[in-house]
């Protein structure tokens, strides 16, 4: 299901920092070291967004000089990710960074960020062979890597940043992991059974999670020390016979007529904590609305239907649990979604070049009620030449609007419905047709900057820190903290706001602590630097 994961990345991140017509005057510079020495003539890549694909517009690459220095000039304001790792060299901070594989920074216009250094080491190697109880090679099976962090907690090693081929055993059962950051690792194959753990797609069955050398219990797994430039060999695993996987199937129908709807699609997810996390999205059902989910290991799953990319339908998630048999007859009822039609206007200017920026730019709308149930991406709508936009397929809930990345330097001033300013996010009822929504936009070049201070302990690995800028009950902007614990919120209109830093535990994406809110006032585009204090405990 690589394809849909990629699709998810695209939806989320493509075009986060588009070139604007503003003069680009910001810059980043720093030094790259390899094993503590200047890393000369190696590539450094800068990706706007960050998290862009190699095709992301604005991706830049350069080689370090004789002293290992790099500098990217003439950059637009925005968030950037930097990476200097290769197949052999890895970032020293890799295991502890929340924004791996990138080191992330935010640049304001004219900002000159210096000493943004990247430290590399030559990675280590971990290799071994996977066999079954008869001694036969276990072929084309994925090896999982976990690492033991500074607080002795075991964390999943994220494989997205590197060569995914190396995690798969060959026809001799051999795997070879290379370019690994020095650290303490656990190697396993197979699937865990339990809440939030799953496998799908393999009708032949699955192997139960086994850790090196041949134990099922993580606590008894042998911890392997990997050192820079060194090779840990003979990390073999022996697996028990395959366990059976199961199928789930069902039908998508119109809630009113009980008939299939042409073009209906479904999203498939795993129940993680209290939420449904998408595994893949936008798969077509057949003409009868039938869908089949194959090769499922015992776990709790969920399916949600939509009428297709343009149709105004949604469904509630149907949850099911696979234990020891196939499940059939799941029914997903498509209900008429709510629609939101309106227009976007720029206030305070009649400059045609400013007004033209609206054309074909996008507005995003996020159902914040539903994001409490499932991880979803915001809907996007294009602004037409006459300023109008149309959204469809909403569940009942609270809708929060934001501007697409094309509208950098702008901010939503207010949202009106039938001429009245909204005090809160926009509420939509079941199947409602909301017209006359007006999104008033203004050029906003204010910048809010600050630093997050952590007290009460170390920041857990892989956790995310987000900074919310609020105005009354409305969240007007959210950003992530940079690798250097700073944050920058560009395109802010003058006014009074509240700033809050929130810590998200990576495992379930829920808020584990928040900073006390800090009141700020942006006047003439500026405000003093803000310090937010977040208690980690």
């Amino acid at each position: 299901m690589k394809v849909s994961i990629i699709a998810a990345f695209l939806l989320a991140f493509v075009g986060q920092a588009q070139p604007t017509n503003e003069p680009n005057t910001a810059s980043i510079s720093g030094r790259v070291t390899l094993n503590g020495k200047p890393a000369k003539h190696i590539h450094v890549t800068l990706v706007p967004g960050p998290y862009g694909s190699p095709d992301t517009p604005g991706r830049q690459k350069m080689k370090t000089d004789d002293e290992g220095r790099y500098q990217f000039k003439r950059l637009a304001a925005g968030r950037y990710g930097l990476i200097a790792a290769s197949y052999l060299n890895t970032s020293v901070e890799f295991l502890t960074s929340a924004t791996k594989p990138f080191k992330v920074c935010t640049l304001a216009a004219d900002e000159e960020l210096k000493d943004f250094d990247l430290a590399l080491v030559r990675g280590g190697v971990l290799t071994g062979r996977v066999t079954d109880t008869d001694g036969n090679p276990v072929i084309a099976t994925e090896v999982q890597l976990a690492f033991v962090d500074g607080q002795s907690k075991r964390q999943r090693f994220p494989a997205f940043q590197t060569n995914e081929d190396m995690f798969v055993t060959d026809d001799r059962g051999v795997y070879r992991l290379f370019g690994l950051p020095p650290g303490r690792y656990l190697v396993s194959v197979g699937v865990k059974v339990g809440p939030g753990e799953y496998t799908f797609g393999s009708t032949r069955g699955y192997y139960k999670r086994t850790y090196h050398p041949n134990v099922a219990d993580e606590a008894q797994a042998t911890v392997i020390e990997v050192k820079a430039e060194e090779e840990a060999t003979g990390i073999d695993l022996r697996v028990a016979p395959m366990e059976k996987t199961y199928q789930a199937s069902g039908r998508i129908v119109d809630a009113e007529t009980n008939q299939p709807i042409a073009g209906s699609m479904y999203d498939f997810g795993i129940v993680e904590g209290e939420k449904l996390r998408s595994v893949y999205m936008g798969v077509s059902a057949d003409e009868q609305g039938q869908f089949y989910l194959r090769g499922l290991s015992p776990s709790r799953y969920g399916v949600t239907a939509s009428g297709g990319l343009t149709a105004n339908y949604f469904s509630d998630p149907t949850l099911f649990e696979i234990t020891d048999k196939d499940i059939e007859g799941l029914e997903l009822k498509l209900q008429r979604g709510a629609t939101i039609n309106g227009s976007a206007v720029i206030e305070g200017t009649s400059d045609p070049t400013m007004l033209a920026k609206l054309n074909a730019a996008t507005i995003t709308a996020e159902n914040t009620s539903y994001t409490k149930i499932a991880h979803v991406y915001p809907s996007r709508a294009k602004i037409q030449a006459n300023g109008r936009f149309n959204f469809a397929g909403f569940r009942p809930g609270q809708i929060r609007f934001d501007l697409g990345s094309e509208l950098q330097g702008f901010s939503i001033l207010r949202v009106e419905h039938n001429g009245a300013e909204l005090r809160d996010s926009l509420a939509v009822k079941s199947g409602e047709q909301l017209n006359n929504v007006r999104i008033v936009i203004a050029a906003a070049n204010g910048i809010v900057r600050g630093t997050v201070n952590f007290v009460g302990g170390l920041l857990p690995n892989e956790s995310q820190v987000k900074i919310e800028l609020r105005r009354g009950n409305l969240i007007s902007r959210v950003t992530e903290m940079d690798s250097n614990k700073r944050f920058v919120l560009p395109s802010i209109a003058d006014g009074e706001y509240e700033l809050v830093a929130r810590l998200f535990a990576s495992s379930n994406n829920t808020v584990s602590s928040s900073s006390p809110p800090q009141r700020i006032r942006v006047t003439n585009g500026t405000t003093p630097d803000v310090t937010l204090t977040l208690n980690v405990r």
Binding site: V14, H43, I139, G205, S284
Partner: protein, 546 residues
């Protein structure tokens, strides 16, 4: 969800029957409507338990593929299939389905699939200094089908290992483009691929591999030659749900040397392809998906010669479609000889219709569809061009009688589209095509008296049939001189063997060629009368040498 319920129960009942041996005849329950049963055997002929079998409908849109696994006796059963043609593929890691199993199967049939161990290939990629190159993407491309079959990246020692390779001849290449979704920094991403052993595409040394064979030392000395960029913008019919694919293709094979997706369909969207070697290519932009009316640009010839190519504009134009009805003519009971035995009652939905651009033999996957039960069919998203329709008929008893378009005002006679082909302009839709399939087909199986490379032709004897393209048939004789022609209309034919040429287009599509063929056949004067349903076997054919 009756289908799955049945699946569970039948798997149980199948496993209660003991198949100690390979199954040779379909068990009676295989006749069940909508069911394909079968067995997966190993190279040793023994049943293979827990093999995955994927079942994919041919030409049926919006029909998800199905997957089952074999039981302890290697048996499998797929139920609830709609009428249609299906492709079956058995798989186990490192094993491939033997080629004879790669044909169409129909519900009611019993499929025997053989799993054979694929070949394995290993080698090392080094740079000009002999240092290993990690992260290099190694691809195997079949020499005949010219499509990529497998790829794997080299490890930290520059070593790769690819397994489960179907027997065949391959070129092996090392591609340094950080293609796809790698964030890794590479020195090679602007480069053109190096082919084994250290060659360009034109001088690549093909590698032959057998099933079960392990080839070592397929080392590549990487050339590190920089490629060029081809860039430009898209205009025209850009708006749609589907993404736009821009590909740069070799004109001869139609295979892509580079391709890129454009997702955000804005006016005048820019594109750029990297790592392109010097050469001559066709650049095409396409927006095609499912039932949405797509668009494509006309192929633009691009010559890369030592420099980047910039400013190419590709204008997307709406695509065309073809639609019509298939009719099945019964054979009168009086005309059907009592000896005529029909193995299986085929249905219209099992007929596979393929639209091929007449001049274009290179497209690996031409658009394909199947008719509905009443016989309606539609082919969407066709490039403009002159089309011929190809048919895969599900029954040996069937032959193609006529392909017609409605009468033109001037002649008031239906247009014989089998003779003329079908011309489609951009955005045009040809509707009301009538295809007549008749029952009572004959077949001719024979052998040439002297085995040599030859093409065997059937030519209708009657003068009034001279332009009836569907009455012509041709096939290349096997190396032992045998040949079989199926789906033949009953009637009188000349049989003619001609030396093999490189022509890829049926001779009968061209009127001058038809006349030449008739002339030669008349002179050779080997004639055969085929009766409805007749199965001629052991026919002896002499190759005339000029």
């Amino acid at each position: 969800m009756k289908t799955l319920l049945t699946l569970g129960i039948t798997l149980l009942s199948l496993s209660s029957i003991s198949y100690a041996q390979p199954i040779t005849a379909p068990p009676p329950e295989a006749k069940t409507k909508g069911t394909i049963t079968g067995q997966v055997l190993g190279a040793d002929g023994k049943p293979v338990p827990n093999a995955a079998v994927a079942v994919t409908a041919v030409g049926l849109r919006n029909q998800p593929s199905r997957a089952v696994t074999t039981n302890e006796d290697g048996a499998f059963r797929v139920v609830g299939l709609k009428p249609g043609a299906y492709r079956l593929r058995a798989s186990m890691p490192a094993f491939v389905t033997a080629p004879e199993g790669l044909r169409n199967f129909y519900p009611g049939e019993f499929a025997t699939l053989r799993l054979v161990k694929g070949g394995a290939m290993t080698g090392k990629v080094t740079d000009a200094n002999g240092d290993p190159i990690p992260g290099m993407n190694i691809k195997l491309i079949g020499v005949r089908e010219m499509s990529s079959t497998a790829s794997r990246r080299t490890d930290d020692r520059g070593i790769y290992r690819i397994y489960g390779i179907p027997a065949g001849n391959y070129v092996v290449l090392a591609d340094g483009l950080s293609f796809g979704w790698s964030w890794m920094n590479s020195d090679y991403e602007e480069n053109i691929p190096t082919y084994y052993p250290s060659a360009t595409r034109d001088t690549a040394l093909p590698v032959a591999i057998q099933h079960g064979e392990e080839l070592t030392g397929i080392d590549i000395r990487y050339r590190s030659e920089r490629g060029y960029r081809v860039s430009g913008k898209l205009t025209g019919a850009l708006e749609g749900q589907a993404g736009i694919n821009i590909s740069l293709n070799y004109p001869a094979s139609g295979n892509a040397v580079a391709s890129v997706w454009a997702y955000d369909n804005k006016q005048g969207i820019a594109f750029e392809l990297r790592g392109v070697p010097n050469g001559e290519y066709d650049l095409i932009a396409e927006r095609k998906r499912g039932d949405e009316t797509g668009a494509a640009s006309a192929p633009r010839r691009v010559i890369v010669a030592g420099t980047d190519v910039t400013g190419v504009e590709l204008k997307l134009m709406p695509l065309s479609s073809l639609a019509g009805k298939v009719m099945l003519e019964e054979l009168k009971a009086t005309e059907r000889p009592p000896t005529c035995e029909i193995k299986r009652n085929a249905v219209l939905e099992e007929t596979i219709i393929t639209a091929r651009v007449d001049e274009d033999t290179r497209r690996a996957q031409p658009p394909t569809t199947v008719p509905t039960a009443p016989g309606d069919f539609k082919l969407n998203n066709l490039d403009p061009g002159h089309y011929r329709l190809d048919f895969e008929l599900p029954s040996e008893d069937w032959y193609l009688r006529a392909i017609t378009l409605p009468a033109e005002a001037a002649t008031k006679k239906p247009v014989d589209a089998a003779r003329t082909g079908i011309a489609l302009r951009s955005g045009e839709s040809a509707k009301a095509l009538t295809i007549t399939i008749a029952k009572g087909a004959a077949s001719l199986q024979g052998k040439m008296t002297t085995a040599q490379p030859a093409r065997v032709h059937l030519i209708p004897v009657e003068k009034e049939r001279a332009d009836d393209v569907l009455r012509y048939a041709e096939i290349t004789a096997a190396s032992d001189g045998t040949f079989t022609l199926r789906h033949l209309a009953p009637g009188k034919y000349w049989v003619l063997a001609r030396p093999l040429t490189e022509a890829t287009r049926p001779v009968a599509w061209d009127s001058t060629e038809r006349a030449n063929l008739r002339h030669e056949a008349e002179a050779a004067s080997q004639m055969i009368q085929l009766q409805p349903c007749q199965r001629v076997v052991d026919y002896q054919l002499t190759l005339l040498t000029k």
